[in-house]
Amino acid sequence: MSDIVLSAHGIRKSYYKNELEVPVLRGVDVDVVRGKVTALVGRSGSGKSTLMHILATLDVPDAGEVHFGGRRIDNASRRTRDAFRNDQIGIIFQFYHLLPELSALENVLAPTMIGCSLRDYFRNRKETRRRAEAMLDRVGLLHRATHKPSELSGGEMQRTAIARSLMNKPTLLLADEPTGNLDTETGQDILRLLRGLNQDDGLTICMITHDDAIATNADICHRMKDGQLMQTPRRVKAVA
């Protein structure tokens, strides 16, 4: 079972609208396997985004448990969860969520700046900077390093976001509709990049999408509907 990086069991989550309980997740079990691309497919409102937020410890489930590397993290202290998000996982979003005041390079540096103290940062700043440049180079954006997000195209912003998510060498990359805001061609570029990261660096990726075409490209595909996983995971491709 050491192959499973992140596992969630019996996750339930409801929202309340005017004291009316709106269940979003009704007992979801999901495992993310190391070195694989896992896709969660579902239409909007199926609860896939909520599930991802719970997996990323951005939100807390009403019931159920989330384990990361054998350790329960959903009820861990705020500090532990902050540290977990910072070093263990990388997250990319549909709307990129780059900080508009910072240049592309500074955005990539942000997780490291958040993760270490001022002193540590200054001690290692040259090395950190080189690593950030390497990350930007990896996504093909080194020539745009000093540009602000407002000067970048959607695809470039998403590449920057990917570089940022890789900055702290995460075990797992969580992607929330990474192509949702891009045209098909640019989206394909992003997917190729993610696939490349998975194949070349062995990065574990958990991707959420509403696009079946993208989902079919994943190693493992979970289909979600009305807050539940529809069926047991389907292996799209034979495991290499």
Binding site: L58, D59, R79, D82, F93, H97, L98, I114, C116
Partner: protein
């Protein structure tokens, strides 16, 4: 790390926040300017009040004063010890000053002070306010030849040269008057034999006076010399008060002799006025070289009014109108003699006031209390005060003004704090998604909070720093700025006929600067606490979804 990077970036990109701290900037600048001017004013005032008053003043209630001052000074020296830096005894007496000017007598009520010129300058800043430069170094009650205009360009001719000229003029006028009188007498003699014309002769008598006044008018511009040699002070003073005898006057030669010297406060014998061009000018009713009269009570139990002539030997200008318009100084010996304060049997002299100067670091109030213990009010008819006690109401008023102004201006900065609060809430709302992003990247609530607190701190530092700079520049050029305002509005900001300093005095105290800066920065930080807390408590998912 990221917090500083972010708040520096916010500072550079969010101009609305800079706008919100302009009020802090203005508040800080105003506080600095007001405090500088207020402390400049009060320091100048303290300096001048203190300058004349000496440190501790011991006054006797009795009109006859305190006999045997040497004994008292010795006793004081025993009580005060090493703190005593100097002591001077003097006689203070209320008096009426009579100045003859343009055929009229101007009377002023003054405080006549008999001073010991050797020690008086040591206990108070007396000499430095005198007009003649030589008197500043060493006070002398002898009229000087000239040089009273050393520091003031428009000062009229004064001193012996003026006195001699006036004496000659007076003599000539007197000769002319006598000649006219003789002509009148001869004319009268011609008319006398005819008894029928007696009434017409009577008609002619007033003509003498007219003739007489004619001379007076001609020379009236040079300070009415007609009245200078006569024993009478003029029609306005009763004969019994005019003092001096006709014989004495005939012996006294004003061209070479002077009466006892007197130093007048400049406002007792001059007025400031403005000519048609708006320039400030002085008119002197008496100047060094002129003779004036002093009327004051004798020291006996049954006081009589004494009337004495003095020759003005110098003028005194401290810049404190209260002092300049009330004091007149004469030699102590002369005043004691005139007021009969010398015991005819023992020759012991009396004084009314002892002024003490203490060492620079002495505690005035403690010394005063020790002296009060030694000379209890029930036994000794003495009033012992420090100069602060004497000017208490004035000093307290200035202190109150400063305090209230400071409170008001700090309230202005506090109001600016609410502006910062509102702006910060706006910025936090605007930055909601970024806050969500930071939290998703692993930033803690306290980290996010510290971004906004640092931002508040930074804004406070920038705002109050600019205010500090602006305030200091304003204070540095305050006189030029006052000049510009004068030119624009036509209203004189600092009227030299009212204030005796021609420039606005300012003192910048570093401690005040530190307090003002610290206060302003604290207010900016406090105003950012609530928005920062709101940012820290934001739910990351809600923040990320925020549109």
């Amino acid at each position: 790390m990221y917090r500083w990077l972010l708040c520096f970036r916010y500072l550079r990109t969010r101009y609305i926040a800079l706008a919100s701290i302009i009020s802090v900037t203005l508040g800080v600048a105003t506080l600095i300017v007001v405090n500088a001017v207020m402390s400049g004013f009060s320091a100048e005032m303290h300096e001048r009040l203190h300058g004349l008053a000496s440190d501790i003043l011991i006054e006797s209630y009795a009109s006859g004063g305190l006999p045997n001052p040497e004994y008292h000074v010795d006793e004081i020296r025993k009580v005060v010890g090493d703190d005593l830096a100097g002591a001077s005894v003097s006689v203070h007496v209320p008096a009426m000053l009579g100045i003859e000017h343009a055929g009229q007598v101007i009377t002023r009520h003054v405080q006549l002070v008999g001073i010991d010129s050797a020690t008086y300058d040591k206990v108070s800043h007396f000499g430095r306010y005198l007009i003649h430069p030589n008197n500043r170094d060493e006070v002398r009650f002898d009229l000087r030849e000239a040089g009273y205009d050393a520091d003031r360009e428009e000062f009229p001719i004064a001193g012996w040269q003026y006195r001699r000229r006036k004496a000659i003029e007076t003599k000539l006028i007197e000769q002319e008057r006598q000649r006219a009188e003789q002509i009148a007498k001869r004319y009268e003699a011609l008319q006398a034999p005819s008894a029928a014309d007696q009434s017409s002769a009577a008609d002619h008598l007033p003509a003498d006076d007219e003739l007489d006044f004619g001379f007076a008018d001609d020379t009236g511009l040079s300070a009415g010399p007609r009245f200078m040699d006569g024993p009478t002070i003029g029609q306005n003073v009763p004969a019994e008060l005019s003092g001096g005898g006709a014989n004495e006057a005939s012996v006294f030669d004003p061209a070479t002799e002077q009466y006892a010297g007197i130093i007048l406060g400049i406002s007792t014998c001059s007025t400031k006025w403005r000519d048609a061009d708006g320039n400030v000018r002085d008119t002197y009713y008496a100047r060094p070289g002129d003779d004036v009269r002093m009327m004051f009570p004798s020291a006996s139990d049954n006081p009589k009014i004494l009337n004495q002539r003095f020759t003005v030997v110098d003028l005194y200008e401290s810049g404190m109108s209260e002092y300049d318009s009330t004091f007149a100084f004469v030699p102590l010996d002369k005043l004691q003699e005139l007021r009969q304060m010398i015991d005819p049997q023992t020759g012991v002299r009396s004084i009314t006031t002892i002024q003490l100067k203490l060492a620079a670091d002495a505690d005035l109030n403690a010394v005063r209390d020790r002296l009060r213990q030694r000379f209890p009010a029930e036994v000794y008819a003495m009033n012992i005060q420090t100069w602060r006690d004497m000017q208490g109401p004035l000093l307290a008023a200035v202190q109150l003004e400063t305090t209230i102004l400071n409170i008001l201006l700090f309230l202005i900065i506090a109001v600016a704090g609410f502006g910062i609060l509102a702006t910060f809430f706006m910025i936090v709302v605007e930055k909601t998604r970024d806050i969500g992003t930071l939290k998703a990247l692993g930033a803690s609530g306290s980290g996010v909070m510290s971004i906004f607190l640092s931002y508040g701190l930074l804004l406070g530092i920038v705002g109050s720093g600019v205010g500090l700079l602006g305030g200091l520049i304003f204070v540095h050029y305050i006189n030029d700025i006052a000049g510009v305002i004068e030119r624009i509005t036509g209203q004189e900001v600092f009227d030299p006929t009212v204030y005796y300093f021609s420039e606005i005095p300012t003192i910048i105290s570093p401690l005040t600067l530190v307090w003002v800066m610290a206060g302003a920065i604290a207010i900016a930080v406090m105003a950012s606490v609530l928005p920062a807390l709101r940012a820290a408590r934001m739910h990351p998912v809600a923040a990320l979804r925020f549109e």
